[in-house]
């Protein structure tokens, strides 16, 4: 049984790409969120094993979402999927509890590796 993943990204393209990559590599995509708020809500509902988190999103950004989720579930395993050049934000995300990060545009094996390492 693959790990359940919640994909968070405001672009449909990125969500689709991630879904394809993850499903091909044995993960179960349990849900998709289009912004931070949706991610928080769906995390509650789905209880995924892993979350991929975009940083810049409308309504609630990724950092706030990470902080909120971590507050509610200190064992949450969140991997940041950030755009290039967001160094400060990535560090803030890591300090907020994200376990790891990858940078878009990513190579499929990198996101798989990151998620597998975080899943342990």
């Amino acid at each position: 049984m693959g790990k359940k993943v919640l994909i968070t990204d405001d672009t449909a393209f990125m969500r689709m790409t991630l879904r394809n990559v993850l499903e091909k590599n044995g993960f179960e995509v349990a849900g998709e969120a289009e912004d931070g708020q949706q991610a928080v809500d769906k995390y509650e509902a789905i209880k995924p094993d892993l979350v991929t988190m975009d940083i810049t999103m409308p309504n609630m950004d990724g950092i706030t979402a990470i902080k909120t989720i971590m507050q509610r579930d200190p064992n949450a395993k969140i991997v940041v999927v950030s755009a290039m050049g967001q160094k400060a934000l990535v560090i803030e995300a890591l300090n907020s509890g994200a376990k790891d990060f990858i940078v878009k545009p990513f190579q499929p094996d990198r996101i798989v590796e990151a998620l597998q390492k975080v899943a342990g």
């Binding site: 290039m84 160094k87 790891d100 940078v103 390492k117």
Partner: protein
């Protein structure tokens, strides 16, 4: 980055030279792995530097060199001449790019082609199946991404100094004394990792609470700015649980590998043992599958972590090591790099000082005060010492020029299918930087000629009972205020008879003149400009390409060149060069109301001529000096400052010479010799023919220095060509 460029250039050239030297040595003695280690280290350092500067072509090419060199080291490939040539080719290409940093792109195709060749050779070794590794992919690294599957460099204790400052060394010692351990944690990121600085940050975070990080390479700031390629390392102290650290770091995405080793092993290794081990064992076994740091620093550790990857520290004496390290460090600090323009300014200022001192001393003498005279004497001594000291700053060893010749002679002898051994001695002889910079071309000519025409083919040599391999000796030494550089070969020598024949053909001398010449005089004819330009002459005589160029070049430096040769046993060129061009010895003469300085080098002799000796031929005044017709010219007339003064009882004549041209300069008075500091004329007036520069005399008068060569050249002066007036 631009500010680092000069430093990069200077260091890159050092590394290239070192590679050239050691490649030659390696070819000569393939069993001495020390050379290989040095070449490898230079290539590696160069790669790192180029990578840091963003010169991807250079770093790519040096990477390919490194890969091949590593196969050599692991015994997968043998040292062969062809391969050394290939490596030389790579050194050349890097040199070209270093010399043309702004146009590196032009060489992209060349670089790629050469990279392919280098890697193909390396592939050859692999096919042999010797010690070549499985993990090492022969695929050429994409330019700009060095660091892929690189071998480890030699065990290098220089690493210790370069890595730690004195304070840190002390601290490390204390840590060891306390019984804590020092670990070297080396982390490689996967290729193409983005936001590398954040990766480094994650690694640092993973170490938090486990141990104390006392040093990072590159520096914390560079890590923070992502200024590294794929790897970085930390020096940590404490008693961490290694496996936990390892797991934590390996749990981070895009970490390719982690190596953790106690540093104690490194510090305690004996230096000699270390070097041997590097050459002999470390490389073959470990090098191949160990990616190599390729970062911002010139030297990085790699194989300095001995074979045991998670080794347990073994106690050994630290102190003995330290002594060696300190000595090494002192040697490294012996020199500083200074911009040459600054040196020139200093030399100029000292020149001014000397001139003013002379004036002050003269004034002091006039004042007649004893106390003043005494202190002025002191001043004179000190300034003289100062002048000498400053002059030595301009002096550089002739090695700078000599260094490129072994390579050149090697290539040339291969091209010509001749065995040639170049023996160099006296390369530490120092002379003025300007001269060193300009003596290269004449020497190249001489050496090329020696290989090309002087040394016979191996068969020919054997027939004559000579060693099949010829020897060329390049030698330099001091001789008074001169440096003598000689190029001697044990080749076929110059045949005066052939010279005679050719000189006749070329119309350089008449049959009668030639008949009177001694063998030695005939040989000197090779310096005549008409003589030596033809390749036909070269092929027949075995000598002569551009010999006039050599002569002109040497004379431009106020030097002289002569040749001695014995048919069948060799040729000997002797170049006599002044130590410096900034200060010259001159003869001061008066012509009319002006005083002129004539460089001693240009003067053959001084004579006094009585009016009855002077004859007029074709409206030119001449005298016969030792059976040679010498045209006389009034110096004032030549410089358009006056005319020949008739009716004197006796005329002082300075016989000057430049090249093969000779003339007598009639002056009014000979004032004696003096050392003068040359002040070049400003660019507005430096085109004046006949004047080389100016100097200021002790009494403040400005005196012009004659440029005898240009005076004789531009037709102001009637000249006699040696040999033409017999």
């Amino acid at each position: 980055m631009e500010e680092y460029r000069d430093l990069f250039l200077a260091e890159a050239r050092d590394y290239l030279q070192s590679m050239t030297d050691h490649l030659l040595d390696m070819e000569r003695d393939p069993h001495d792995t020390g050379h290989l280690t040095e070449i490898f280290r230079s290539a590696h350092s160069l790669k790192g530097m180029a990578g840091t500067m963003g010169y991807e072509l250079i770093s790519g090419l040096t990477h390919a060199m490194e890969t091949l060199l590593d196969s050599l080291r692991s015994g997968g490939v043998d040292v062969e001449r062809e391969m050394v040539s290939l490596l030389f080719e790579a050194v050349d290409l890097v040199q070209i790019m270093v010399d043309n940093l702004d146009n590196q792109e032009v060489y992209r195709d060349d670089v790629q082609e050469l990279e392919k060749k280098l890697l193909a050779w390396q592939g050859k070794g692999k096919a042999k199946g010797a010690a070549a590794s499985d993990s090492m992919e022969a695929a050429p690294p994409a330019a700009g991404q060095p660091g892929e599957a690189e071998p480890a460099p030699a065990l290098d204790l220089a690493y210790f100094h370069e890595t730690f400052n004195d304070y840190e060394k002390e601290m490390l010692k204390d840590v060891l004394d306390k019984g804590e351990l020092i670990y070297h944690i080396h982390v490689w990121l996967r290729e193409g990792s983005l936001l590398k600085s954040v990766r480094a940050y994650m690694v640092l975070k993973a170490l938090e609470g486990q141990c104390e990080i006392i040093k990072t390479v590159p520096s914390m700031q560079e890590l923070d700015e992502g200024l590294f390629e794929r790897d970085f390392y930390f020096i940590v102290v404490g008693n961490p649980v290694i496996e936990e650290i390892r797991r934590a770091i390996e749990g981070i995405a895009e970490i390719e590998r982690v190596e953790i080793a106690p540093l104690r092993d490194l510090v305690l290794e004996q230096e000699t043992a270390a070097v041997d081990a590097a050459a002999a064992t470390a490389a073959p076994e470990k090098a191949q599958d160990r990616p190599q740091p390729s970062g911002t620093e010139a030297e990085r550790p790699g194989a300095e972590l001995p074979a045991q990857a998670d080794g347990r520290a073994e106690p050994a004496p630290v102190e003995a090591k330290k002594a060696g390290l300190n000595a090494q460090k002192r040697a490294a600090e012996k020199t500083v790099r200074v911009e040459t323009a600054k040196l020139d300014t200093l030399v100029n200022l000292v020149g001014e000082l000397i001139i003013n001192r002379t004036r002050v001393v003269e004034l002091g003498k006039m004042a007649g005060d004893e106390l003043l005279s005494a202190s002025l004497e002191q001043l004179e001594r000190i300034t003289t010492d100062l002048q000498n000291a400053v002059m030595t700053l301009r002096m550089v060893p002739i090695k700078q020029v000599f260094d490129r010749f072994p390579r050149m002679v090697r290539d040339l002898s291969i091209e010509k299918n001749k065995g040639v051994e170049l023996v160099i001695s006296g390369e530490e002889t120092e002379l003025d930087r300007t001269i060193v910079n300009q003596i290269g071309d004449p020497l190249v000519h001489l050496l090329r000629n020696a290989v090309d025409h002087g040394i016979e083919t191996p068969e020919e040599r054997q027939q004559r009972g000579k060693n099949p391999a010829g020897t060329i000796v390049l030698e330099a030494h001091h001789e008074g205020s001169h440096v003598v550089v000689s190029v001697s070969d044990d080749g076929r020598g110059i045949d005066p008879e052939i010279i005679k024949k050719k000189a006749l053909e070329k119309g350089i001398a008449s049959r009668d003149e030639l008949a009177e010449m001694t063998a030695d005089e005939l040989i000197q004819l090779i310096f005549r400009s008409g003589f030596s330009t033809s390749s036909v002459v070269t092929d027949v005589s075995g000598r002569g390409v551009g010999m006039d160029v050599v002569k002109t070049g040497v004379e431009a430096l106020n030097g002289t060149v002569e040749v001695k040769s014995e048919k069948g046993s060799g040729t000997h060129f002797i170049l006599r060069l002044p130590l410096t061009l900034a200060i010259i010895r001159t003869l001061m003469v008066r012509a009319g109301n002006e005083i002129y300085a004539i460089p001693i080098e240009a003067i053959r002799e001084n004579i006094f001529v009585e009016p009855r000796e002077i004859k007029t031929i074709n409206q030119v005044r001449v005298i016969t000096l030792r059976e040679e017709v010498l045209p006389l010219n009034s110096l004032s007339e030549a410089l358009e400052m006056g005319s020949f003064e008739e009716g004197r009882e006796v005329y002082p004549v300075v016989v000057v010479k430049a090249g093969n041209k000779k003339a007598g300069l009639v002056v009014d008075e000979l004032l004696g010799q003096q050392e003068i500091v040359i002040k070049s004329l400003s660019s507005f007036i430096n085109e004046i023919k006949g004047i080389a520069g100016a100097t200021v005399l002790g009494d403040g008068r400005v005196t012009l220095i004659l440029d005898v060569a240009s005076l004789l050249e531009d037709g102001r002066v009637s000249i006699g060509k040696k040999g033409s007036y017999h």
